[in-house]
């Protein structure tokens, strides 16, 4: 792209001085700013000047795209830590009133909010005159299926795969944003005076046996509370840690998935999925970004070629056209 700094010289500068004794004071400063003579970059978009841009875009984007694509495809080999997701489709976790239906103060361990949740939680605010903890529609609709993964060996004896529950939520969420209400050691006591959400099977203090993963700081719960932006989404469920460098995390073989079915999705045309994936520097498997980069790069390159032709063809006429007609 052509660029020039057309700082204007002083010659064309100021307006004629206003005559008379008052001229000195009234004459405006002859500065580049006031006289609108700042150096400016004025791109002129013609084929010739922008040709390099297209080629540069093409040359940068295509390799990036290929890189991303390859990385994304490499994820297929499940070798490092494996991430286990559950997926829901047609679940509108982004519905306006659904999204609002929570009380962050309550979740942060505020004891007054615990017993008197925000009005936003309505109608899941109180049940039988007791405040619901955690209140709101989001918590109420928490995904509560249990997924278990088994490796079926040759002896057709299923070996359960160790699924790690902790470490699936954001660190800040787990340690800052979500906190159990203050009080004694006993979690149940801390949640005294509250009741469980209507759809839940057990109260919030019985989500897990591990006290570090129970109550509001249960990571499954935290993950659920971070609402998805689109109606089809997946959420991290478990981690499968690699045991040693020698063996793949999930060696080839037959696996079986055991689903304890608690969560009905059929009546809203929903689907459930389970996804296993490793992640790379760019997250989970996502071929789209790579393809998009390659496509844009190619288009840009192609346009560059077209413009080259145009430029070549119109060069003579355009040179003169620029000046004469």
């Amino acid at each position: 792209m052509a660029m020039n700094y057309n700082a204007k010289d002083e010659v064309d500068g100021g307006p004629p001085c206003a005559p008379g004794g008052t001229a000195k004071t009234r004459r405006p400063d002859n500065t580049a700013f006031k006289q609108q003579r700042l150096p400016a970059w004025q791109p002129i978009l013609t084929a010739g000047t922008v040709l390099p841009i297209f080629f540069i875009i093409g040359l940068i984007f295509i390799p990036i795209g290929i890189g991303i694509f390859v990385t994304s495809n490499n994820i297929r080999e499940i070798e490092g830590n494996v991430f286990m997701y559950y997926g829901l489709s047609n679940f509108y976790q982004n519905h306006r009133r659904y999204v609002k239906s929570r009380d962050d103060s309550q979740l942060n361990g505020d004891s007054s909010a615990l017993l008197n949740p925000s009005k936003e939680c309505e109608p899941y605010r109180r049940n039988e005159d007791k405040p619901i903890a955690p209140c709101g529609a989001i918590a109420n609709s928490m995904f509560n299926d249990t997924l278990e993964l088994f490796l079926i060996g040759n002896d057709s004896y299923p070996i359960p795969i160790a699924l790690k529950k902790k470490g699936i939520a954001w660190w800040t969420d787990k340690n800052v944003k979500f906190r159990n209400p203050p009080g004694g050691d006993n979690l149940e006591e801390r949640f005294k005076g509250t009741t469980k959400p209507v759809n839940w099977l057990k109260p919030v203090y019985m989500l897990d046996s591990d006290p570090d993963n129970n109550g509001f700081i249960n990571e499954d719960f935290i993950v659920w509370m971070r609402t998805a932006a689109l109606p089809t989404f997946r959420k991290l469920y478990r981690l499968i840690e690699r045991k040693s460098d020698l063996h793949p995390t999930l060696p080839a073989g037959r696996y079986s998935l055991n689903v304890t079915y608690n969560y009905p999705v059929h009546y809203f045309d929903g689907r459930k999925r389970m996804i296993l994936s490793t992640i790379s520097w760019m997250g989970g498997k996502n071929p789209f970004l790579g393809i998009a980069y390659i496509a844009v790069g190619s288009i840009s390159f192609l346009l560059g070629v077209v413009l080259l032709v145009i430029n070549h063809k119109y060069r003579n006429s355009s040179n003169t056209a620029d000046i004469t007609i």
């Binding site: 206003a18 009234r26 978009l45 519905h95 009546y267 809203f268 004469t324």
Partner: protein, 1349 residues
């Protein structure tokens, strides 16, 4: 819609103001007039139209309470708000904006729980921010006004105190009606008052009105009759009269009323007796007056209606665009609502994510859809085109420094002007009147040397007025009579800025310091050397040499003795010198006007005394009632007495003058002035034009020091011309005028009466008693058309004399036509000799007219008609109104820019046409059509014939010619190569402006490149502008300098005032003020272009970012069940417009410069038709904006753990930024979003470059390449034109083109020949007949009339 709102608002304000009038601090304005009228009508004795002023002193206390108590005092308040009403009133004003109201509605809507999209308070934030910012801006503006008001209110003046019985210092604001005020020299008048006393022995007071109308010349004011004779100062305690006058009004040139003494005797009051607020007392030691109007009722304040609010076209369009956006929004929301309904109906059962109502039941899909509609509206509001309006307000265009910008909000309209209406005098021309030629007694004196002198000035003057000193070196043969303080200081356009700061502060918006500035006072108007130096014509000087005092020795016996021509010449020059209202002053002292020489210590002292005594008694300048008693002596006794005066005047010559010379020489300036004089003499001697006698004239040495201050420049020009012929106006008092006449010595004329110039009569007269013949002589000076009608036609005596007059008249008429063709302004000089009885008779009638309050104007006009008839033509003058520098170039450039230029002038047709040719408004090969008909039908006929011919020429398809279509899209004649000009006279214009002919007229004008309207009245000017503006729906610009252009300036979309010599009215009324016409081309072509591209691009920018944003919100609805969720935190939504994206468009709007100024100036074509240029400021702002987003998001995300539900942003941004995909997506989306447009622009740029783009190329060439390229461009353009012209002409069967002629006459002839050849004989002959009819008519009429008589 908004206009209707404004109207309603205006009337509402009026009501409010009327209601709060009694409140002292209440705003006071025009409506006060009505209110006041109402008030005073409650007192039984008064009709509503009059007010009674009673002196504010002890004996009249009761009466004073009764009458004057109700009048407002002198405190002024121009502020809009008070502390108390600021908030409600400002809000009220702001909610007149449709957009603000709309957003208020949305805020209220958010308070409805069902559709609440965000927290209630949050939604209000953007609106509150915008309202606050605007309120602060308004408040600051108002505060500035308040400070200026306060300053003015607290000025000190001397007011008579009834308690202390003397004049004490008091603030202006404490002055009330009926107060006596004593002012000294150079003090500013605090309120309108009637002049009761002046230290001037003649009862005159000089005031400078530059504070009021910008005219720097002095005006005389007269002490009320009956008080002037009192020797001692008027004693307020003894003042027992009362004043009855009109209710306050804004007519500066009118004041009617009378003063009723305690004995019921009435004395008429006129504007001559009124001192206006804001003017300055000059040349008078002290004056005393009684206040009649105070504060907001003064004429000055009533004339200050405040700047008019004009809305720019773009702003109006932006308003409609806002409406469109709302429409779009409604459609989006409807989509959302319907979508939500459908989405909801898909689910039969309640499900997790559909949250039921608090009471447990689930709302029906239909209702939910409806609710959703409103929610969507609120939601999208935050992404709305919210700030466009406010940004248009904040947008503050840096205008060019040479231009005074008085209306910021319409700057971008400068880029869209299609029609330009220009005044001629003072706008296209300099309004610097230069005496060029004269014709006396039928002989033309063409003053060739003078012409040569003017040419030599041509370059010099155009440089700079102030550097004349250096220039004069080259003009060594010229005298340099400018005394130091006499020089004209031409203010820059800004120079007159504070001129009205005392009259009222509504205009002083731009100049906070304005009030402290002292108006310039030491300038004499109209006295640049180019005007003052006139080189006499040799032939005429020869004739002057024949004049000797001997000629008049046998004056009493016979009038035939001296050659008639010589008498004519004498009379002619005497008329030039005295038939005016010029004030003579000496430059060395502060405007000390030159009195007639003191009479003390002369041998003929007693006689002179008697004479002056007699003068006082018999012929006061203004016919006083006492004249009735003095009538008898004036006809009888003094005749014999005064008949001896000629002798005296010749006998007394030197002594008084010499005395004055010696006086002058005592002053410090002596050396310089005498040096100056010797130079003059030397020049005269070198020229050999004068014999020794002339040099020895006693009055001569001083002449060069005199300064003449005239009300109009041509008056001054004539006086200077007379001075060049040794006929020097020496002094002027209300009673007499003294003239140094070459051979006759000083002549003292008793000034009996002056009938001032007015635009109805178009002439002025002085009635004097001739010192030589002792006859009452009327000298009249006026427009030729008027004077010619008033000449005596029948005379009983001597056929030879009669014949001679007839010949003179014919010849003069011929000369007049000649002058007019050269573009000179012509004036006729005539005289009439009256007998004393005739005069007395007239005087009696005139007195009656003068003293009547009602319809005085008509009576005075009648009275003038009685005096100014049966005149004898003496001669005529031609004054050149020089074209301003750069006018032809500017007009050419504007023409190229596709702007149609109309010239509207009050001048006669010939002059106007010639100026039009001179300034290239008309090209020599233009086809000229002249509309000059006497009836409406003829006018219509002529227009249709012309139209038909034009249509035939351009071969427009018949269906395109239909009127309605034509009006909407006027044909573009330049494409066809046919250039046409239309000349229309005032009378015909009147017909053309009538309803039935309007369309035809407009259609006709749309064919013409240039239209010249001559003899147009100010009202017609504005009507023409109005017509074009409303019917063609185009942007119009009016430019003018005088008071007669004010209405036109106000009507046009953009009014431009030229701050010239004719005062400041035009500038006051204008949106922009420039100092010269040539600046207009830069203003329009460069700044107009920039402003327009800037603002339009800025608005596009706003729409773009908002549409992008709203669309994002909208598309998200498809993924969230149309539930109205926003995809991001609402603080981000709010700050998107408020913070993240607000600066770049504004910076863009202020700094964008698509093509450089030089290129724009050189290629005016570019005006007809944008791209980007980026300075480091742009870059800075854009980077800053992006950074501000990240900063905000990170800080907000880190700080807010539980706040801001539902979309708690805690640590989200940080998580994002840790993810490389975030950056990859950012890069990709930006590229994809910009690629299509980029490609489009590239293809456009390389395949079909726009003129702007090509012009940009010029900017980056080296200077040499540039000039080359520009030449090529122009050459190509011309080639194009020529070929198209040629093609068209051959198509139109026009055999050959007329040869371009150099002069106007030739051009007109060529137009004929062209027309005849083209076979439209009848039509063109008509047009031409109209053009020449005037001259022909005169040629024919002259002799025939002579025969008749």
């Amino acid at each position: 819609m908004t206009e209707a709102l404004q109207w309603a608002r205006y009337h509402w304000q009026r009501l409010i103001r009327g209601a709060t009038r009694d409140d002292d601090s209440g705003p006071y304005n025009y409506s006060s007039l009505l209110a006041c009228g109402r008030k005073s009508s409650q007192t039984p004795k008064l009709s509503g139209r009059h007010r009674i002023v009673v002196p504010h002193i002890q004996p009249f206390k009761d009466e004073y309470e009764k009458f004057s108590g109700a009048y407002v005092n002198n405190r002024i308040r121009t502020t809009k708000y008070t502390l108390l009403n600021f908030v409600p009133r400002n809000l009220f004003e702001q909610f007149h904006r449709a957009a603000n109201l709309y957003f208020l509605f949305l805020v209220v809507l958010n308070w409805v729980p069902l559709v609440e999209a965000f927290q209630k308070e949050i939604t209000m934030l953007p609106l509150v921010v915008v309202l606050t910012i605007i309120a602060i801006k308004d408040g600051l503006e108002d505060y500035r006004k308040y400070k200026i008001d306060k300053q003015i209110n607290n000025l000190i003046t001397k007011v008579y105190s009834r308690k202390e019985k003397k004049y004490i210092d008091r603030c202006w604001k404490d002055v009330t009606v009926g107060d006596f005020i004593r002012l000294s020299c150079n003090e500013v008048i605090p309120a309108d008052m009637v002049l009761l006393f002046s230290t001037d022995p003649d009862g005159i007071c000089h005031i400078e009105t530059s504070g009021l109308d910008g005219e720097s010349n002095l005006k005389q004011r007269q002490v009320v009759r009956g008080y002037a004779e009192q020797d001692s100062e008027v004693d307020p305690e003894k003042f027992s009269s009362r004043i009855e006058c009109e209710s306050p009004n804004n007519d500066l040139s009118r004041f009617r009323g009378f003063l009723e003494h305690s004995n019921k005797e009435r004395v008429g009051l006129s504007k001559e007796n009124l001192l206006l607020r804001g003017c300055t007392i000059r040349n008078t030691e002290a004056v005393v007056g009684i206040v009649v109007y105070a504060g907001h009722e003064t004429k000055a304040m009533l004339n200050n209606s405040g700047p008019r609010y004009k809305r720019s076209k773009l702003e109006r369009r932006a308003n409609t665009d806002v409406l469109w956006c709302v429409m779009l929004l409604v459609i989006m929301c409807l989509t959302g609502a319907v979508g939500h309904g459908i989405w909801l109906s898909r689910y039969e059962k309640m499900h997790f994510f559909n949250v039921p109502e608090p009471d447990g039941h689930i709302i029906s899909p239909l209702l939910a859809g409806f609710y959703m509609f409103w929610t969507m509206i609120i939601l999208l509001q935050l992404g709305q085109i919210y700030f466009i309006q406010s940004d248009v307000d904040f947008y503050n265009e840096k205008t060019d420094s040479i231009v005074q910008c008085r209306a910021l909000n319409i700057a971008e309209d400068l880029g869209q002007i299609q029609y330009l209406f220009s005044d001629k005098t003072g706008t296209l021309t300099e309004n610097k009147m230069v005496f060029r030629r004269c014709s006396v007694a039928g002989f033309d004196y063409c003053h060739e040397e003078n012409a040569r002198r003017l040419e030599s000035y041509q370059e010099a003057v155009s440089e700079d007025e102030d550097f004349i000193d250096t220039v004069s070196g080259s003009l060594s043969n010229m005298a340099k009579p400018r005394a130091p303080s006499c020089r004209t200081v031409h203010n820059g356009p800004l120079g007159n800025k504070p001129s009205n700061h005392l009259a009222g502060s509504s205009f002083t918006l731009g100049s906070g310091e304005g009030a402290s500035e002292v108006p310039h006072s030491r300038q004499a108007a109209f006295s640049s050397p180019i005007e003052t130096d006139v080189v006499p014509d040799t032939r005429l000087l020869d004739k002057f040499s024949q004049i000797t005092p001997r000629l008049f020795m046998p004056l009493d016996e016979t009038i035939q003795n001296p050659p008639l021509e010589t008498l004519y010449i004498i009379d002619f020059f005497i008329a030039l010198a005295i038939c005016n209202t010029v004030v003579v002053s000496a430059p060395n002292q502060p405007r000390q006007k030159i009195r007639h020489p003191s009479l003390g210590g002369l041998p003929i002292k007693s006689l002179e005394e008697i004479k002056s005594l007699f003068q006082r008694w018999s012929v006061r300048r203004s016919s006083s009632p006492s004249l009735n008693s003095g009538k008898e002596p004036s006809s009888g006794v003094p005749n014999a007495f005064v008949s001896r005066l000629p002798l005296f005047s010749r006998m007394k010559p030197a002594s008084p003058v010499e005395e004055e010379v010696s006086q002058v020489c005592e002053s410090p300036q002596c050396s310089s002035s005498s040096a100056c004089c010797t130079e003059t003499e030397k020049q005269h001697g070198d020229a050999g034009l004068l014999n020794g006698k002339a040099e020895s004239l006693p009055g001569q040495p001083l002449a060069c020091n005199l300064c003449y201050e005239a009300e109009s420049p041509d008056e001054a020009a004539l006086v200077y011309a007379a001075r060049a012929y040794q006929c020097t106006l020496r002094s002027r008092t209300p009673e007499q005028v003294m003239v140094d006449f070459a051979a006759l010595g000083p002549l003292t004329f008793q000034l009996l009466h002056i009938l001032p110039f007015d635009s109805v009569r178009k002439r002025m007269s002085v009635v004097v008693r001739h010192p030589l013949s002792n006859q009452v002589v009327v000298y009249t000076k006026g427009a030729d058309s008027v004077i010619m009608e008033l000449l005596s036609v029948a005379s009983p005596d001597g056929a030879s004399l009669e014949k001679q007059q007839m010949i003179v008249r014919e010849k003069t008429q011929k000369h007049l036509d000649d002058y007019a063709k050269q573009g000179l302004r012509t004036l006729c000089i005539a005289k009439k000799v009256m007998s004393d009885t005739e005069y007395a008779e007239w005087l009696r009638n005139h007195f009656l007219a003068e003293t009547s309050i009602d319809n005085r104007e008509e009576l005075l006009l009648e009275s003038a008609m009685r005096l100014e008839n049966k005149l004898t033509l003496l001669g005529a003058t031609g004054i050149e109104d020089r074209l301003q520098e750069g006018v032809p170039e500017s007009i050419e450039a504007l023409h190229k820019a596709g702007i149609k230029i109309w010239m509207l002038t009050g001048d006669k047709q010939e002059t106007a046409v010639n100026i039009a040719y001179a300034c290239k408004l008309l090209e020599p090969d233009d086809k000229l059509f002249i509309l000059n008909t006497q009836s409406k039908d003829a006018c219509g006929m002529l227009m249709s014939t012309i139209l038909k011919e034009l249509q035939k020429k351009t071969q427009v398809l018949p269906e395109q010619v239909s009127l309605s279509e034509d009006l909407l899209q006027p044909p573009v004649p330049q494409d066809s190569g046919l250039r046409a000009g239309l000349i229309i006279t005032g009378k015909t214009l009147e017909f053309a402006l009538q309803e039935s002919l309007q369309k035809q007229f407009l259609e006709l004008t749309s064919w013409c490149q240039a239209v010249v309207c001559c003899r147009a009245t100010p009202l017609q000017k504005s009507e023409v502008v109005k017509l074009v503006r409303s019917h063609l729906q185009v942007m119009t610009l009016a430019i003018g300098d005088g008071a007669n252009d004010v209405s036109m300036i106000q009507v046009a979309d953009i009014g431009i005032g030229v701050s010239g010599q004719e005062g400041m009215q035009a500038v006051m009324a204008s949106d922009f003020a420039v100092s010269q016409f040539k600046h207009l081309s830069k203003l329009l072509l460069v700044h107009g272009h920039w402003c327009y591209t800037r603002l339009s691009n800025m608005i596009l920018y706003f729409f773009y970012k908002n549409v992008a944003y709203v669309n994002l919100l909208f598309w998200y609805q498809f993924f969230c069940g149309f539930s109205g969720t926003s995809m991001t935190d609402y603080w981000v939504l709010i700050f998107f417009n408020l913070l993240f994206t607000s600066a770049p468009p504004v910076i863009y709007g202020v700094l964008e410069k698509d093509v450089s100024a030089e290129t724009l100036m050189q290629l005016p074509e570019l005006y007809k038709s944008g791209q980007k240029s980026e300075t480091w400021i742009h870059l800075l702002v854009i980077i800053g904006s992006i950074l501000s987003y990240f900063l905000f998001a990170i800080v907000f995300g880190a700080m807010c753990v539980t706040c801001n539900p539902p979309s708690n942003p805690y640590w989200i941004m940080q998580e994002h930024m840790l993810d490389p995909v975030f950056y990859l997506v950012c890069i990709l989306t930006t590229s994809i979003a910009l690629l299509p447009r980029f490609v489009y622009r590239v293809l456009q740029g390389s395949l079909f470059p726009s003129p702007i783009l090509r012009a940009k190329h010029f900017d980056r060439l080296t200077p040499e390449e540039r000039t080359k390229a520009l030449k090529k461009w122009r050459g190509a353009g011309k080639m194009n034109q020529v070929t198209s012209k040629y093609a068209n002409q051959s198509a139109g069967k026009s055999g050959r083109r007329p040869m371009p002629g150099p002069s106007a006459v030739f051009a007109m002839k060529s137009a004929t020949s062209c027309a005849i050849e083209q076979g439209n004989l009848s039509l063109c002959e008509t047009a031409l007949d109209q053009g020449y009819s005037e001259t022909k008519a005169f040629e024919m009429a002259g002799p025939s009339k002579g025969k008749e008589s």
